[in-house]
């Protein structure tokens, strides 16, 4: 249960203990909260005490009387706003002159509770403020998490971009230092590997562009009622040379036409990724079974391969950015590590699902279902 700390600043002990009593067994819950909020009451008889508590044990809410023996409530409020302390202040006062109210408002007081107040008035005021506290906490949490993910993404990205550069630089140095001797033919592997790494880097950059485009939201999305079968034929043509090279048979099972409301470019990215993976992670002479169909108001895309498959543990990591399953079987297969995370983002944005079944050395089956939108 979430705990919210409430500091009561009032020189009358009766008010302080009254607030403590009212909030002791009080809880606030809203449908959007994971769990109900409880309250812990801290008491301060003077403004000076309040400032000390704010600095050592920061509460979430301050119930602040204006008329205090030493410094006034309004000065405590001004101290809080001047130091940009993250706390919600509610003024409680029976002497709320207009002038004090205006000053308090300017200094960021969230609300006023006139004194005397009933337990019910206090509770309903606290309820509203609790919602505010909850939102602030969530915003902070999201902000921190977002920054962390961004940082991780960038550091992995810079590694992924640097690795091919290092490799290519190494090869160029070999040529520069004539490490393979004076015969130009002996450098064929050096040159070919450099070209491969450049190609890999280009693919990574293209994937990154796709990812940014998708993450920037559906602003540029061009939803059209299109024939998915036609798009699928284009994808098949794209991957066919790869399949022929490795003697892999492509089986395509589909209705004559399949009209669906979707962005043509995005569905092409999805199909290209699944099909090229089904070939890349297949065995020579293997098969790919590709099915498009409509059932239960959903578009279903099924891509099955007879390839290397993967373990349960590998399956859980598969859709994360820059995750490439590293093992003996995949070491010679190149990829940016972004393909499936892009696919997942696209499918998610259409409220679709991806299911994956896989058996090591037998093959994997990816099943996508996207609802017909209304």
């Amino acid at each position: 249960m979430d705990l919210i700390k409430v500091l009561v600043v009032d020189d009358e002990p009766g008010i302080r203990s009254g607030v403590a009593r009212v909030l002791r067994d009080f809880t606030v819950s809203y449908p959007f909260m994971d769990e109900a909020c409880k309250f812990e009451v801290i008491e301060a008889p003077t403004g000076e005490d309040a400032i000390q508590i704010v600095n050592t044990n920061l509460p979430d809410i301050i119930l602040l009387d204006n008329k205090l023996p030493g410094i006034q409530g309004i000065e405590v409020l001004e101290y809080i706003s001047k130091n940009q302390i993250d706390v919600i202040v509610v003024m409680i006062t029976s002497y709320a002159s207009l002038e004090v109210a205006v000053r308090a408002n300017k200094s960021g007081a969230f609300d006023f509770i006139p004194k005397p107040f009933t337990p019910q008035e206090l509770r309903s005021s606290i309820e509203t403020i609790t919602k505010q506290v909850y939102f602030r906490r969530m915003a902070k949490k999201l902000n921190t998490a977002g920054k962390q993910i961004r940082f991780q993404f960038l550091s992995v990205l810079s590694h992924e971009l640097k690795a091919p550069l290092n490799a290519i630089e190494g090869y160029l140095r070999m040529i520069q230092e004539k490490q393979m001797g004076d015969n130009l033919e002996d450098y064929e592997q050096v040159v070919n590997r450099s070209l491969d790494r450049i190609q890999g880097m280009r693919q990574l950059i293209l994937d990154l562009l796709d990812l940014t485009r998708i993450e920037s939201g559906s602003l540029n999305r061009n939803l059209q009622n299109i024939d998915i079968v036609q798009i699928a034929q284009i994808s098949m043509d794209t991957v066919r040379p790869l399949a022929i090279q490795r003697d892999i048979t492509l089986n395509f099972n589909h209705p004559d036409t399949l009209m669906f409301n979707i962005d043509a470019k995005e569905i092409e990215i999805v199909l290209n990724n699944f099909l090229s993976n089904a070939i890349k992670y297949n065995r020579d002479g293997g098969q790919v079974f590709f099915t498009l169909k409509v059932a239960d108001e959903h578009l279903h895309i099924v891509v099955e391969d007879t390839g290397i498959g993967m373990t349960e543990e590998e399956m859980t990591r598969l859709f994360k950015e820059f995750v490439r399953i590293k093992n003996q079987k995949t070491k010679n297969i190149s990829g940016s590590g972004l393909g499936l995370s892009i696919v997942k983002k696209i499918i998610d944005s259409y409220n679709g699902d991806i299911m994956l079944t896989s058996t090591p050395d037998k093959g994997s089956t990816f099943t996508v279902s996207i609802p017909f939108t209304t």
Binding site: S155, N166, G170, Y171, M174, Q189, R193, R197, K326, N332
Partner: protein, 129 residues
């Protein structure tokens, strides 16, 4: 005196290829492994004169683990850990203090972009050539 044999372990096939060539050109025999586990199997039946290990392979600390295992089997075989980590993260590893030496069983850390002449000097020093 017969040629010394150097074991190079790295999961990046390009780096492995380049390093192998570089070390061969310095006049050594080279045996390669593409990862921690392959290298662990190799050393069961084979004792290199020196090892050059990548740090991050199957795991982020594969180089350390492998280094520890090699040292346990062959305490006298010098180990170099080659890493690009310094350039990428700014974290620099070094094994100057005795305490580090106890903890990480490597004799030298070197940057992956090391020049041939520097590499030769370091290898000769470790092999007392």
């Amino acid at each position: 005196m017969s040629k010394k044999t150097i074991l190079i372990v790295d999961d990046d096939m390009d780096y492995l290829f380049q390093m192998k060539k570089k070390v061969e050109n310095l006049g050594f025999d080279v045996v390669t492994a593409e990862g921690q586990y392959e290298a662990e199997n190799l050393i069961q039946s084979f004792k290199p004169d020196l090892c050059i290990l990548d740090l991050m392979m199957e795991n982020d600390d594969s180089g350390f683990i492998l280094s520890y295992k090699i040292k346990r089997k062959y305490p006298e075989v010098p180990i170099i850990i080659a890493t690009a980590v310094t350039a990428e993260t700014g974290i620099s590893f070094d094994v100057r203090s005795e305490e580090d030496r106890l903890w990480i069983k490597a004799d030298l850390y070197m940057d992956k972009g090391i020049r041939s002449d520097q590499l030769q000097r370091e290898i000769n020093k470790l092999l007392k050539l």
